[in-house]
Amino acid sequence: MFELLVSFAKWLEGTPWGIGVRTSLWAYPFTQLIHFTGLSIWIGTNLALDLRLLGWGKHRETAAQLRDDLFAWNWIGFCVAVLGGFLLFSSTGSTFLVNVAFRWKLGVFVPLALTWHIVVQSKARTWGQTSDTPMIAKLSGLAEILLWICVITAAVEIPNY
């Protein structure tokens, strides 16, 4: 399985976009820009829903309303972040694969946080009917925030490994 991933990463490194991002002075920061712009929208809209479920902040909208308001751009942000991340991975994928922090990020925390997010987002419609949310909603919102902090921590640690 790992062998397969490595050969996939090697193949990506040889694609025109993989070579482009790796060798051009301008492409790498622009690709980072795509990743970070997507992440801003993704994390910004995720935290908004989580914090509203937690009951932390203004109560102008219910969590259910906020969930519907942000749903489309939440997933647009996700797609942009994945596109940027995929391009960054294409440039030097095989070195990322042997990086312990990267393995934690992509192998453990991202799948966990993403699954949790999908559950929270679908439950928010029932949990968020009233201005005050049930305890389970508060705990779930808090858990999602902590999971994304784990993802970012692993990402920050990548250059140190």
């Binding site: 002075l25 301008w26 790498y28 920061p29 622009f30 980072q32 820009l33 970070f36 712009t37 992440l39 801003s40 929208i41 993704w42 994390i43 910004g44 809209t45 935290l47 908004a48 914090l51 509203r52 902040g57 203004k58 102008r60 909208e61 309303q65 906020l66 519907d68 308001d69 942000l70 489309a72 751009w73 942000g77 994304w148 902090i149 970012i152 921590t153 990402a155 920050v156 640690e157 140190n160």
Partner: protein, 157 residues
């Protein structure tokens, strides 16, 4: 002068203790995404491409307190990271561009925040307001670009 800052005792402790510097970096990324994402949602609403069912004033009132909380934390954490290598950052021209972009983006954000409750009163959001929201969004994206260019061009950060 800026070199000296790096040698203040608490700054040295902070920059040489792995987990401290890493924690502040995590706070910087998290709160920066939180802040920019929150402002972007209001910009997109003003432009008429997000949450069209929701009143602009309502959405802005819900989101802006979070945005500013994130902003303050991003600034504080960013300032600590600056102090850790102040001698390198202070003279860096790309870093100056980043600071200029942050300032311009903040002004644009304040205009959008000021305008949101007013624009909500009219039947249709004025065209100049939509342009202003787009400018605000592009300025924040430009800020991220300036920030990404620093490691690319100067090997800093």
């Amino acid at each position: 002068m800026w070199e000296a800052v790096e040698h203040w005792q608490w700054v040295e402790t902070f920059s040489s203790t792995g987990w401290m510097y890493a924690s502040v970096s995590v706070i910087h990324y998290l709160t920066m995404f939180w802040f920019i994402g929150s402002v972007a949602v209001v910009d997109l609403r003003v432009m008429g491409v997000a949450a069209r069912k929701r009143n602009v004033a309502e959405l802005a009132a819900q989101v802006f307190p979070w945005a500013w909380t994130g902003m303050v934390l991003a600034l504080l954490s960013g300032f600590m990271m600056f102090l850790a290598s102040a001698g390198d950052w202070a003279p860096d021209p790309v870093f100056h561009v980043k600071l200029l972009m942050i300032t311009l983006s903040l002004v644009a954000t304040l205009i959008v925040q000021w305008g949101a409750p007013r624009w909500a009163l009219s039947a249709e959001i004025p065209a100049w307001a939509k342009v202003m929201a787009l400018v605000c969004l592009l300025l924040w994206i430009g800020t991220i670009l300036a920030a990404s260019e620093i490691p690319a061009m100067e090997g800093l950060g």
